[in-house]
């Protein structure tokens, strides 16, 4: 029973990690290797606002969200847009950004385990005999709400539809008057905001550590690969599969192997069905 509960929580956590990455890759085909870095960055912004500037918690959170989104969009506009389309350069450039941010933070003194964000609600409750923090429940709730919100956003709002159009066929979108460069910047901003949101909700559960930048990136990529590019449903399903697999290995094998599960999931997917669970085959065929 506890596997069920922890599994669900873990799965939603993974989904939260993955949403921002999936959005950017689906829309502008940019594998944003800086995703994890933005996650950690927003955590530190919130922490700094809270502790160094002494601002109200709520304001700190909002600040972190907004600043991270802007930073993401600016990075894209200034650097990444210039290498748009050149896959190799995109990968190297976004990876360089990630390194600069993460290692810069590490050098700037954010080492060790002492940085934390307070949870929104203290205390815990018991479900089916297992004690669960309110914060975790909140995370699950927000995660589910976010997925629903994103679905509505991409299907019913103008910007969302434009992003979807770009994801499906960029040339067609251009012909319909959608400025794909600007939309890509918007997508990046939104993706960064999603990373920040995930950070805000999840970091109170633990510490803010620079290493998590790499971990979050890898987990986000794992979820997107297993779920298939361009499919929200696939990403959610993949999050659950990997999430439960991780919990099962923790229970039966020990907690060191969590990340190995992610790697194995990726390798297995690449061997068996490279386009992922619900991935659109179009990826592989469009070049012929």
């Amino acid at each position: 029973m506890d596997i069920l509960i922890y599994g669900t929580i873990n799965s939603v956590v993974l989904a939260l990690y993955a949403l921002g990455f999936a959005l950017v890759y689906g829309t502008s085909r940019l594998p944003n290797f800086a995703h994890g870095a933005l996650y950690v960055l927003s955590g530190f912004i919130a922490w700094s606002a809270l502790n160094t500037l002494g601002l109200n918690y709520f304001i700190s959170i909002v600040l972190a969200l907004v600043i991270t989104a802007i930073i993401g969009a600016v990075i894209y506009r200034v650097f990444l847009i210039r290498v748009r389309g050149m896959e190799i350069s995109e990968i190297i450039a976004s990876y360089a950004v990630a390194l600069a941010i993460l290692e810069g933070l590490r050098w700037g003194g954010f080492k060790g385990m002492t940085y934390t964000l307070p949870p929104f609600i203290e205390g815990s409750t018991t479900i089916a005999g297992i004690s669960v923090d309110y914060q975790r429940l909140l995370a699950v709730g927000i995660g589910a709400a976010l997925v629903a919100f994103l679905w509505v956003f991409t299907h019913y709002t103008r910007i969302g539809l434009a992003l979807q159009g770009m994801a499906q066929d960029e040339r067609a979108a251009l012909m319909l008057g959608i400025d794909s460069d600007f939309m890509a910047v918007v997508a990046m901003g939104l993706g960064s905001a999603l990373a920040a949101l995930a950070a805000i909700v999840l970091l109170p559960l633990g510490n803010i550590v620079v290493e998590s930048g790499y971990n979050v990136l890898i987990l986000a990529i794992a979820v997107c690969i297993v779920g298939g590019i361009g499919s929200w449903a696939g990403a959610v399903l993949a999050a659950f599969i990997i999430g439960f697999a991780q919990i099962l290995t923790v229970v039966y094998l020990g907690s060191h192997f969590q990340m190995v599960v992610a790697l194995l999931a990726i390798i297995l997917t690449l061997i068996l069905k490279p386009s992922g669970l619900f991935g659109q085959q179009k990826e592989l065929e469009e070049r012929v």
Binding site: Q281, K282, V288
Partner: protein
């Protein structure tokens, strides 16, 4: 006594999500003939080529080459058996000189086995064999043309280069995906004898084309596709006279108009 056909496409269907690109397509190609495949845009012509050469897996149906089931085989295995194709969107290796483009197909196992087109059986120096093939194809040997960087060649030469790439494998079947498109009238005029020569050498050709007049000069048989289905099949003259074909191309109302003016 009718020989076994070289290629058989049996009830092949291909779905892309909700779109049915090919719908129970069924036809055969005999050895040594030139089959033309025509049809309006979106009728599935390139999808047929992709399915036969293995770049796309059919959703159902079977494809047989010399009696062997090649459905869903990987593209390089199918090419190794002698089924080659040109690409509609040409992508030669732009930064290399033209004759160096030939080195790559000549490196393949099939070329090494067969010695390339006109090769006796053993492959000599790939550069020389490459230039030989290009000469056969129409690149003037003593000029600078084969040595030019591919990016600077005009379309006519590039199309020939695509064909040369296929010839390096000593193919039994070449699927030509719109070789006549993008060429000037004089370039087409010089392509037609080349196609005829290929047929005389015993190579079977499937030609997917939009330029009907030129196609009808060379094709033995023509097949018309519409919405992924075979509409009509037969000698060129018969096919063009068929009312359904005109309807497919021009739409039923204007077909009447075209008939009046034709």
């Amino acid at each position: 006594m009718k020989e076994e056909p070289l290629l058989e496409v049996r009830e092949v269907t291909k779905n892309f999500g909700g779109i049915i690109a090919l719908n129970r397509l069924d036809f055969t190609v005999d050895e040594g003939e030139i089959l033309g495949i025509i049809g309006p845009n979106g009728s599935g012509k390139t999808t047929v080529a992709n399915c036969i050469t293995g770049f796309i897996k059919p959703s159902s149906g079977r494809i047989l080459f010399r009696g062997r089931d090649i459905t869903g085989m990987r593209p390089h295995r199918i090419a190794d058996m002698g089924v080659t194709r040109t690409f509609q969107i040409m992508r030669p290796y732009y930064s290399l000189p033209a004759y160096k483009n030939m080195v790559i197909p000549l490196f393949s196992p099939r070329a090494r086995r067969t010695g390339g087109w006109r090769g006796g059986g053993r492959l000599g120096d790939r550069n020389t064999v490459g230039i030989d093939i290009l000469e056969e194809i129409g690149f003037e040997r003593d000029s600078y043309v084969p040595y030019k960087v591919t990016a600077t060649l005009p379309t006519g030469y590039l199309k020939r280069l695509e064909l040369a790439r296929c010839l390096a494998l000593k193919p039994e079947l070449i699927i030509c995906d719109e070789v006549f498109s993008g060429l000037s009238m004089s370039e087409i005029a010089s392509m037609v004898p080349l196609i005829e020569r290929l047929q005389m050498d015993g190579i079977t050709l499937i030609m997917i084309e939009h330029r009907l007049r030129e196609l009808f000069k060379v094709a033995n048989r023509v097949m018309v596709l519409n919405f992924g289905e075979k509409l009509v099949e037969g000698p060129p003259a018969e096919v063009m006279a068929d009312k359904r074909v005109r309807e497919a191309y021009f739409g039923s109302e204007s077909a009447e108009e075209v008939m009046k003016h034709a």
